[in-house]
């Protein structure tokens, strides 16, 4: 029989609501709370050998310790799969489920599964890296969630081939998988058109790339005191490309110290970008990353100061289209370092 370790929060363990969200992680033998529904769904194929219970506040406020402790707890049971939640629309619970499932997957190399409402912040954070079943927005959807999660969990535990998101019920994760629809494509097209014409909801089978928007931030109040960072998607790196950023890889970025650098020259910097003719950027890298003029502005007091590091990314054979995953990471660094504004140059 397959072994399952289940993760739930203080609420589903019947410890209490918000007032008890501070309880630290503990592990109990066997089933607690919603585990019962999973037990019924698993039949004699799998059993929940232990349940981790952790308060949502505790997890989110002591994330590193909680992760470490829980991984130790899970490890002892050597399960075939780790299930977290489902968390429905509870934001901190969702983030905890995603975080711990991700950590268990990375550290213990066992399959993991969680479930939550699609607008739960944990969904966007983790849906591309772990399987997250889409649930209703409240615990009233428990039965339905378990009905989808249990069979998928068994498949994952048995390392069987996982079908498409449409068949298995997980949130689309950017990985396209073939499957058979009930109706042929032309019929689906006619249905979709009728819905579109009649103002009824319809779902595209192929969502176009991300076209969402972020509202503009307020302007810089006093630019003469501001720290301004330079970021470029034009692939400017120190001469010799010390980090070996490949011209074809859009998944890497470089962070370079320009303390004391007044001007980028042919001898000191270059482009590692594969998406445009490098001749002009190599001749004078300021044409892409304008350190020379920014230093001038700094000296003249037009800006407070130029941030000590610049960030550079490369395209994947293209000059203007770029991936975004790494941007999330360095954006947080910039914020933490007190950068007031960014000039992003693109080719």
């Amino acid at each position: 029989m397959l072994k399952v370790v289940h993760y739930i929060n203080q609420f589903f363990a019947n410890i209490g609501g918000e007032e008890m969200a501070h309880v630290p992680a503990e592990i109990r033998e066997g089933i607690v709370g919603p585990g019962l529904a999973f037990k019924q769904a698993f039949g004699d194929e799998a059993e929940i050998v232990a349940t981790v219970v952790c308060g949502d506040s505790y997890f989110n406020e002591n994330m590193e310790k909680a992760k470490k402790d829980i991984i130790e707890m899970v490890k002892k049971y050597n399960p075939d799969i780790f299930i977290a939640g489902p968390a429905f629309n509870a934001g901190r619970y969702g983030v905890a489920c995603g975080t711990i499932a991700q950590a268990v997957k990375d550290e213990l190399k066992i399959p993991v599964l969680t479930g939550m409402y699609e607008e739960n912040p944990g969904a966007d954070m983790f849906k591309n890296s772990i399987y997250i079943v889409s649930t209703k927005n409240s615990a009233a959807g428990m039965r339905k969630a378990v009905k989808t999660m249990a069979p998928l969990a068994l498949k994952l535990a048995k390392e069987e081939k996982i079908g498409s998101s449409a068949e298995e019920g997980y949130m689309p994760n950017g990985k396209r998988v073939n499957f058979y629809e009930k109706d042929r494509g032309s019929k689906r097209a006619v249905k979709m058109l009728l819905n579109k014409l009649n103002g009824k909801p319809f779902t595209t089978e192929f969502p176009m790339p991300d076209f969402d928007r972020v509202p503009p931030n307020p302007p810089v109040k006093d630019i003469t005191k501001a720290t301004i960072a330079l970021v470029t998607s034009g692939g400017i790196v120190p001469k010799g490309n010390p980090d070996h950023i490949e011209s074809s890889s859009a998944s890497k970025y470089g962070k370079y110290d320009i303390d004391g650098v007044m001007d980028l020259t042919e001898e000191t910097f270059q482009t590692a970008h594969g998406g445009y003719d490098p001749v002009y950027a190599n001749e004078d890298p300021d044409r892409v990353l304008p350190v020379d003029i920014m230093r001038e502005f700094e000296k003249e007091g037009k800006i407070g100061k130029l941030y000590r590091y610049f960030y550079a990314t490369v395209g994947n054979g293209t000059a203007v289209k770029n991936a975004k995953a790494f941007a999330e990471k360095y954006a947080k660094e910039l914020k933490a370092d007190g950068v007031d504004a960014v000039i992003l140059t693109s080719t």
Binding site: E167, N178, G185, V190, L193, M208
Partner: protein
């Protein structure tokens, strides 16, 4: 009233088996074929030095490779013109009267026009699931060209051999009583408005591959790349007004069989007069020249606007550059305030994580997918191979070592004829 409606009755004669016999005929659902007659018909064309004919039935352990075209035998019983007008019949407007169809039978042409010919049909096993042609009783033609025949002459000769044999088989059904009759009626624009004043008006934008040797489509005999976007009655297409000369990108090219049985046309007719008013088909090409793409898509949008339609379905053909035509058609038609749904397939890489299309736009918010053509599949060996199995290693979706010693094949789905058809012929999709 009569004069304002184009009406076609399609009479289906169901074919459940195909056999060689002394005399070609259709009897009790079996298509009997005189092999020598068919060979002689092919060899009328002096470009061929020899010909062979084989049978492939559903469930038989047979692999056909490389497939060039698949053609359904049809015959005009009543009404003007003949099947495949402008090709083997006179250029007369078809699409009215009565046409008989040998439903469940097809002519499959094979041959190596160039060294890298594509397209597999498996009659059995997992590969058969992906192609609609595994469900048909196929007459497979193998024609050997005379020495030194130029590729484009070879391509044309092979194409015409297919039409002629299909016509020959179709003629066997001319005086038969169909098992089932389907009636399709397209009223004139004004008539349609009167008949269905409250239903949304819908047109179908059918994109045709048109880029040169082995990439062409013909409309009443005209090479589609030399035509501006135009209109056609859906029933004209059922009589073979559009035929395929496209032999590349096996999984998402439209064979002549697809044109004759265009599923979008069938499904729009199914809703015609109930939930929508199916106005007509707009045919638009997919040329190499970018200015042609702009012009053709401008014209699609203009015609859709002129016809006063509320919505259109756009279907694509082929890989890569047609994504640009598809998105241009979508953007321009949507900007006229006309709703669109697009049918395409995807090249999302073997692991499914790459960008699926070569173009994108936020306006393309309603897309039907025919599946990821890069997904890797395993095809077990078949007892019999008709054609040239060795080409697998060199065709799109195949690779060095695709063809294993035991005859099994590991390759991308795109090797299979019709697998990710962009008219929405199949149930396959991707998420």
């Amino acid at each position: 009233m009569e004069v304002n409606v184009l009406k076609l009755e399609l009479g289906y004669i169901f074919i459940k088996d195909i056999q060689f016999a002394e005399q070609s005929k259709v009897e009790n659902g079996t298509l009997y074929v005189n092999k020598e007659d068919v060979k002689a018909l092919i060899l009328e064309d002096q470009n061929f030095k020899s010909a062979d004919v084989e049978l492939a039935r559903p469930g038989e352990s047979i692999r056909i490779i490389p497939v060039k075209d698949v053609i359904e035998p049809r015959v005009k019983v009543e009404g003007p013109g003949g099947i495949f007008p402008g090709m083997i019949s006179k250029v007369e407007t078809v699409g009215s009267g009565k046409t008989n169809v040998l439903k469940g039978a097809a002519v499959v042409t094979t041959g190596k026009i160039v060294g890298f010919q594509e397209g597999i049909i498996d009659m059995k096993g997992p590969g058969a699931e992906y192609t609609p042609f595994s469900k048909l009783n196929n007459l497979v033609l193998k024609c050997e060209p005379i020495d030194g025949l130029k590729q484009h002459e070879h391509e044309k000769a092979l194409r015409f051999a297919g039409y002629k044999v299909a016509e020959y088989l179709g003629n066997l059904a001319k005086s038969l009583t169909p098992d089932e009759v389907h009636t399709f009626e397209t009223p004139s624009l004004t008539e349609g408005l009167k008949l269905y004043p409250d239903l949304p008006r819908v047109a179908y934008v059918l994109m045709l591959q048109s880029q040169g040797l082995m990439h062409d489509t013909y409309v009443y005999g005209v090479d589609a790349k030399k035509s501006l976007t135009t209109m056609i009655y859906p029933t004209e297409i059922m009589d073979g007004a559009i035929v395929s000369g496209n032999c590349v990108s096996a999984c998402d090219k439209n064979t002549t069989y697809h044109h004759l049985n265009n599923p979008v046309i069938q499904d729009l007719f199914e809703q015609h007069g109930k939930t929508l008013n199916f106005v007509c088909v707009i045919i638009s090409n997919e040329n190499v020249y970018l200015a042609d793409k702009e012009r053709s898509s401008n014209w699609s949008a203009k015609l859709a606007e002129l016809l006063g339609v509320d919505g259109v379905i756009v279907s694509e053909e082929g890989f890569g550059n047609p994504d640009t035509d598809l998105i241009m058609n979508c953007k321009k038609i949507e900007s006229k305030g006309i709703k669109t749904v697009l049918i395409t397939d995807e090249y999302a890489g073997r692991d499914g994580t790459s960008q699926s299309l070569a173009d994108a736009d936020a306006k393309a918010n309603a897309v039907v997918s025919g599946g990821n053509a890069n997904e890797v599949i395993e095809l077990p060996p078949m007892d019999k191979v008709i054609g040239h199995p060795e080409v697998v290693d060199t065709i799109a979706g195949g690779f060095d070592g695709s063809l294993h010693d035991d005859g099994s094949i590991t390759a991308e789905l795109q090797v299979i004829t019709g697998a990710t058809n962009e008219m929405g012929f199949n149930r396959l999709s991707a998420r």
